[in-house]
Symmetry: C2
Subunit: 346 residues, 2 copies
């Protein structure tokens, strides 16, 4: 359980020159860039889940994505657009895990060096995996050190490009390929989706998904799924402007702890989202257990947020076609074991 | 851990009238019957796994199949061919789990009653799931009672059709749709597979897969993956005739404990298989853990047999395109937790 760290917003954003929000065409271009590298992840069905909630549920299994989460999409789309000089200097990123793995893996594929600044208390599985992709990992203490200062120093010392986790048009466009795939796959099932639920931390994934579906499936309502206490998107949508989470909240969703929506992401999300739901740690653990037991897939807590909302009765799916983005599966084995042991019953 | 029970072969077989082995066309007809009911399961890739073994590995994820294993395919294909009178009398089957769920779910979809005779010590998850599909479950003690006698009495009392687990041409043809999908999906990846590894208990799945690929991908070698001590297919292939496993063996692969290959299945398998590999319980547990940790999918022990062989270095995948059938995911949550706890490292 990690609390909400204080962040310096500037280093979470792309440089000023690139602050224009991405367009649907940018998402299509990202899909072209990614096509030779990764295939689409499956859009899974479960008769058991359909029967339980009385609707037609479509599960976008980004846990099966390369690096175990959707983050590879945005990272690769960003890094593939660096010029030759930038590639030689390498990249630096800070992340508690999934963005780290995405940047590390994308760097390796593009023949670039990467330095990832990670909190010492990040899940061991994520730190190990990031090193496994060939990145240099620099650990910091999230209570006494500033990751922004560490990453900034590395970037300026090496001339490396800092890759922000979400507030970057090319990152958002890359994540948007999830939305393109959902639209096309649902069409192949003969469905027009009533709603899509997407987890959010800084909001890059949901902004990209919303961009894609606003064009491809304009009748689909897009909702955000967040941990209780970190439901800054839901609160910001209601307030009409970006608000911060109250300090002191805790959540097991280590991938969903950003303190406030991104600037660029919120510019998109405030136009295109329909609302949001928030889930408790207990609801998330039940969803992780349900996914393993019934769906036969492994989700990390943050990746299970939308499923948790559905199983907890917070999504009205009765008679509807609803897609859930299961955004990642990088859970520590011990926590997975704890969830399936704690909730052995459907 | 269960030991090898003595079985009366006659009730494991289809009636004499239907003993002709199925053909490739029967597999195509099964695919047509199944098409409105289930979509293809994904053929997954993993860069991490490819890098580890130095080959291109294709994972046929039947754990994501309806009922959690491939068994639904054969059961539905068998039951859909019952006539009106047979449908009204219902079906009976005995099974330690996956066949039970397949028959129960297929019966429910076709509006038929099903009685499933299951050992009292079968995984609780499988018994619960079988009941959940609407079947009447009759439990028996595998040490003191005969499941054949119980099932036979129910069948004759109710006029119900006994559905054998593997030694039936329509069951084999249904399982063969796994092979059709593998061939088509590999083609979409631009690959001609060098080899496919398939787990076997009575051999229905591998016989069907071999029938399909002998036609669609004749250059692909088909190998069987079995638990050590239950490697009756491998031994039978070497002997040139059906041999029985030695008594007293134990395995955690509760789905792969048939004492000897089926008659019809072996008629196909002795012509079409290239050989086999056997895996230990420890190798299987490591594969279950690897699947959850790295692939983000949940496998039951039997479903992990082929992956276990690959990870243990028993399959030479260097520079090759190799498909593994991951045949099921119905593992007891406690065992899944035990595996991921016991093997937290890649």
């Amino acid at each position: 359980v990690a609390t909400n760290p204080t962040q310096t917003p500037t280093l979470l954003r792309a440089s000023a020159a690139a602050l224009e929000p991405p367009t649907y065409d940018d998402v299509l271009a990202a899909a072209d860039r990614l096509a030779p590298i990764i295939g689409p992840t499956p859009l899974l069905r479960s008769r058991a889940l359909d029967a339980r909630v009385g609707g037609r549920i479509f599960l976008k299994a980004e846990c099966l994505q390369y690096t175990g989460s959707f983050k590879f999409r945005g990272a690769y789309n960003r890094l593939a657009q660096l010029d030759e000089g930038e590639r030689q200097a390498g990249v630096v990123a800070f992340s508690s895990g999934n963005h780290a793995q995405g940047v590390a893996a994308a760097s390796a594929l593009l023949g670039m060096k990467s330095v990832i600044v990670m909190p010492r208390d990040a899940p061991a599985a994520k730190i190990d995996a990031t090193r496994g992709y060939g990145a240099e990992v620099v650990l910091y203490d999230r209570w006494t050190e500033s990751r922004e200062a560490i990453a900034g120093a590395i970037a300026s010392e090496r001339g490396a490009t800092l890759v922000p986790p979400f507030d970057d048009p090319r990152i958002i466009a890359g994540q948007g390929t999830v939305g393109l795939e959902i639209g096309r796959q649902a069409e192949r099932f003969g469905e027009e989706l009533d709603a899509v639920y997407v987890p959010a931390s800084g909001g890059g994934l949901i902004a990209g998904v919303a961009l894609a579906l606003a064009e491809d499936s304009p009748g689909t309502a897009i909702y955000v799924a967040e941990p209780a206490g970190f439901d800054d998107h839901r609160c910001s949508l209601e307030a009409g402007h970006r608000v911060e989470n109250a300090p002191g909240a805790t959540s097991i969703c280590d991938a969903l702890l950003a303190p406030t929506p991104g600037e660029i992401t919120f510019e998109i999300n405030c136009r295109l989202l329909a609302g949001g739901v928030a889930v408790s740690d207990d609801e998330v653990k039940r969803a992780v257990a349900y996914a393993a037991r019934t769906l036969k897939i492994v989700l990390e807590p943050g990746g299970a947020a939308a499923l948790a909302a559905l199983l907890a009765g917070k999504i009205d799916a009765q008679g509807k076609a609803v897609a859930l983005v299961l955004s990642g599966g990088n859970i520590d084995p011990a926590l997975l074991a704890e969830c399936v042991r704690a909730y052995p019953e459907p």
